[in-house]
């Protein structure tokens, strides 16, 4: 008999504790984001779609050194290099990437490319909506990766501090 009473009390206490948590959380502010109605917020160092940066003169920072491609564990970066001439100057160095593709059907967002880049040309942006019904659209060309504005305005704050 005594054990039945203590069982009942024990269960009631457990329910009360559980409900306590529920009521407490009901009162606290919500953490769920209303994506896609409300744009999601990210940590500064979130690793989203890559952004190719420009320098303060508006030239591309990438000098086509291929280190990102060499470092890429999923082998998703493809580059073709070309030489800057006096007539057409694309990057600050002697060479630039005439083709720069990232295959997002393979990219694992590990950030090794950003790590490897000697000119801080490739960074992670906060774009993340790559989903597609057609994998052939997942290869992003340079034109799509390149930031429009000069001086790395699209770079996350951390990158700005570093440069």
């Amino acid at each position: 008999m005594a054990s039945k009473i203590s069982d009942f009390l024990g269960s009631a206490a457990a329910v009360a504790t559980g409900m306590g948590v529920t009521f407490k959380e009901m009162m606290s502010p919500t953490v769920t984001e209303d994506y896609p109605d409300v744009p999601p917020s990210f940590q500064e160092r979130y690793r989203g779609t890559h952004v190719l940066q420009r320098d303060e003169n508006g030239l591309e920072k990438c000098v086509a050194c291929f280190l990102c491609a060499a470092n890429c564990p999923s082998n998703c970066i493809y580059i073709e290099a070309a030489e800057n001439t006096d007539q057409t100057r694309i990057s600050g160095g002697e060479r630039y990437a005439s083709v720069y593709n990232i295959d997002y059907s393979r990219c694992i967002f590990c950030g090794y490319c950003v790590e490897a880049c000697p000119t801080d040309a490739i960074t992670h942006g906060h774009e993340f909506e790559q989903a597609s019904y057609d994998t052939s659209t997942l290869i992003y060309r340079k034109e799509r990766l390149l930031t429009a504005s000069a001086a790395g305005s699209a770079a996350p704050a951390e990158m700005k501090r570093a440069s």
Binding site: V63, A64, C65, F66, L67, A69, A70, E80, A81, A82, E83, G93, E94, R95, P118, T119
Partner: protein, 695 residues
């Protein structure tokens, strides 16, 4: 060689012949002593101080590149003291070296980068601003970036000693020293690119390869150069199905690291805009594109019809196709078409030599023999122009073994500079002139005789008689022009001979007769351009041409089939000395087929049973059936060169009038060199040395 001495390196007992340099001696035991200025085979410099090692009982660190091994020596190559010294040297080297590795073409295969990584002089103590000097272009293929230069003088020495050109020198002293070209602001030289190749850093870079890719991005495919007959091994850098560069940094093959201008830069002919990418057929007098199926069907129908009514075929083979292709082509002609009218452009008299040496054996010189012979005679050939690699071996022989060199030529040649004695004779008088050298050659104790196309027929027999009379070992090389000229003869692309130099005993037309004949119903030209200097064919045969381009011959064809280049196929080729080496497919070209595939498809279309037509199966067949070609497969497969043993007697009348070299220069290579952008850019940029008069 001399006696062995015993010494201890890093606690390991080793032995080496007396006189060997320490840096060379340890390599065999898997120990590498780093060095920038030391380069095997070139004069010693001891400028970079990277090879410093600790030697017991010697008070200071010693440079391993100048220190000969000695009995009982105890050497330590990697101690903290040594590492410190090397790090300090690197720090000095890096004071003015720019930190532009990300854009430098050498990045990834740079010796300075490797050493800095190993000894860690990543942060220097010199904070002064680095001197900057703008990059200079010395020629269409050579660029020089002074700040990157570490003054190891490898380029100066390779150009001077290795090439015998001496187009590079040093100006100024100390920190302002600079490598300079011979014409103040540009180079007047062979444009061989050896200086670029030996540069341990990115100071000298190659025009065609410039900023194209990075070393690790390419596939490195070892094959054999497609141009002259020397058979240099070349390693193609391939990316995206295109060849980006060619070099031979692993020092393998007959040539070591040597490549001439053609080998290093003229790999681009296959990528020419003018390359054929579809079969062409003559419609209303004009060549129009057609499909492969239709082209093959048309040819097969025509061939079948002519064979049925017993018409006459003529087949002209190539100096550039592989042994397997040549073998299959002659089989196709003899068995499939029932004709013996098969020939190719003959560029040297190999046949008489093989006949004259019948039963002797071991008297055909290899490339190694040219490097080791105590005396070398060159008859009637501008070796530096026509056989750059043999000329390079010759110069190395003079430097390393003090060989005696005797060029006997109509005009001055570069070999005169190294020659013990040069003889100037009229063309055809080379062998007579040789008589005056008998005493000297006898004394030398061994001779290699190289002869060009003026020496043919009876002159070759006289030459061999002369060699016999010397009483010392004599070896011979019959110089021929193109990458598989030798293989074309030995695979039976002549009416007189079946494969393995077996007399065919059936008459057949030779190339000149075929072109002049009015009776031929079909003329099939594979990879040759016999109408280059001829208006038209005498008769009106059905002309089928397999080629890479619309050559003069292709322009007159009824059907043109686009063929694959030597860099686009597997197979074997035989070099000027008779050494067989293996080609490896580097790339493919859109719309083309290899000559072997074309033969096979035609045979299938004509329902001929000529046996399997893959390079491997045909090589197996050649090895078992062709006399002298029972070479060891393992040697070929591992990238080596296997000497063939084709032996006489060859009891035929050699048509000496049909033998003539095309006399290509350093910048030409038959019809294909016209389509190489790199090569034509160099020819439009001629200096003294290009103009045909050798220095």
């Amino acid at each position: 060689m001399s006696d062995l001495v015993h010494l201890t390196i890093d606690g390991k007992p080793i032995e080496a012949p007396a006189g060997t340099l320490l840096i060379d001696a340890v390599r065999k035991y898997g120990i590498e002593i780093p060095a920038f200025c030391y380069y095997e085979g070139l004069a010693l410099q001891a400028a970079c101080r990277m090879c410093l090692v600790e030697v017991e009982k010697m008070p200071k660190l010693q440079t391993a590149c100048t220190l000969p091994v000695a009995e009982g020596m105890v050497v330590r190559t990697e101690t903290p003291v040594v590492a410190d010294a090397r790090k300090a040297m690197l720090e000095l080297v890096l004071t003015n070296h720019p930190l532009d590795c990300p854009v430098c073409d050498k990045g990834g295969e740079c010796e300075l980068q490797d050493m800095t990584f190993r000894y860690g002089a990543g942060e220097g103590r010199f904070n002064e601003t680095k001197q900057h000097i703008d990059e200079k272009q010395w020629s269409p293929v050579v660029f020089f970036d002074r700040p990157r230069c570490i003054l190891c003088y490898r380029c100066v020495r390779i150009c001077n000693e290795g090439m015998g050109v001496a187009a590079l020198g040093i100006a100024n002293r100390a920190v302002t020293s600079e490598i300079i070209p011979n014409e103040a602001d540009h180079l007047n030289c062979d444009e061989c690119g050896m200086c670029i190749d030996v540069c341990p850093v990115g100071a000298l870079t190659s025009g065609p390869y410039r900023y194209k890719t990075r070393p690790w991005e390419m596939d490195h495919i070892a094959t054999i150069c497609a141009h002259c007959a020397d058979g240099c091994k070349t390693t193609l850098g391939v990316r995206n199905n295109s060849i980006i560069r060619a070099n031979n940094r692993d020092h393998s093959g007959l040539n070591g690291d040597f490549l001439c201008v053609k080998g290093r830069f003229a790999f681009d002919y296959g990528a020419s805009q003018e390359r054929l990418q579809t079969p062409l057929a003559r419609v209303d007098g004009k060549l129009e594109p057609i499909s492969w199926t239709r082209a093959l069907k048309t040819i097969a129908a025509k061939f079948g019809e002519v064979r049925q009514r017993g018409g006459a075929f003529g087949v002209i083979g190539s100096n550039h196709t592989t042994n397997e292709e040549n073998y299959y082509l002659q089989k196709f002609a003899r068995q499939g078409l029932g004709t013996n009218n098969i020939d190719h452009h003959r560029t040297g008299d190999v046949i008489t030599l093989i006949d004259a040496l019948a039963g002797k054996g071991g008297q055909l010189a290899t490339v190694e023999d040219i490097y080791n012979a105590p005396a070398v005679v060159v008859l009637g050939c501008d070796l530096s122009h026509q056989h750059p690699m043999l000329a390079y071996q010759l110069r190395a022989n003079v430097r390393h073994h003090q060989a005696q060199i005797y060029p006997i030529t109509p005009g001055p040649v570069r070999e005169d500079n190294q020659a013990t004695r040069s003889l100037r004779v009229d063309k055809g008088g080379e062998v007579e002139a040789l008589g005056s050298l008998a005493a000297e050659l006898k004394q030398a104790g061994g001779v290699v005789i190289l002869y060009g196309d003026p020496v043919k027929g009876d002159a070759v027999r006289k030459l061999v008689d002369f060699g016999e009379s010397l009483g010392v070992p004599v070896k011979y090389v019959a110089l021929v022009d193109y990458s598989n000229s030798r293989g074309a003869i030995e695979m039976g692309l002549t009416p007189e001979l079946l494969p393995g130099m077996t007399p065919s005993n059936t008459g057949g037309m030779r190339i000149g007769q075929m072109l002049a004949s009015t009776d031929l119903d079909v003329l099939w030209v594979v990879g040759a351009n016999p109408l280059k200097n001829r208006a038209a064919l005498a008769g009106k045969p059905f002309l089928v041409v397999q080629d890479l381009f619309r050559t003069e011959t292709a322009e007159q064809a009824d059907i043109v089939l686009p063929a694959g280049s030597a860099y686009e196929k597997n197979g074997t080729v035989t070099n000027v000395c008779g050494q067989v080496q293996m080609l490896k497919k580097g790339i493919g070209a859109m719309g083309t087929k290899t000559d072997l595939d074309i033969f096979a498809l035609l045979a299938k279309e004509m329902k001929l049973d000529l046996g399997p037509a893959t390079p491997d199966a045909l090589l197996a067949e050649i090895r078992t059936t062709v006399k002298g070609y029972d070479v060891v497969l393992a040697v070929l497969a591992t990238g080596g060169a296997a000497m063939t043993g084709v032996n006489g007697p060859v009891a035929i009348d050699v048509p000496v009038d049909a033998i003539h070299s095309a006399n290509d220069t350093m910048y030409t290579s038959g019809s294909i060199s016209r389509y190489s952008k790199a090569l034509t850019s160099l020819m439009e940029y001629p200096g003294e040395l290009y103009s045909g008069k050798s220095k």
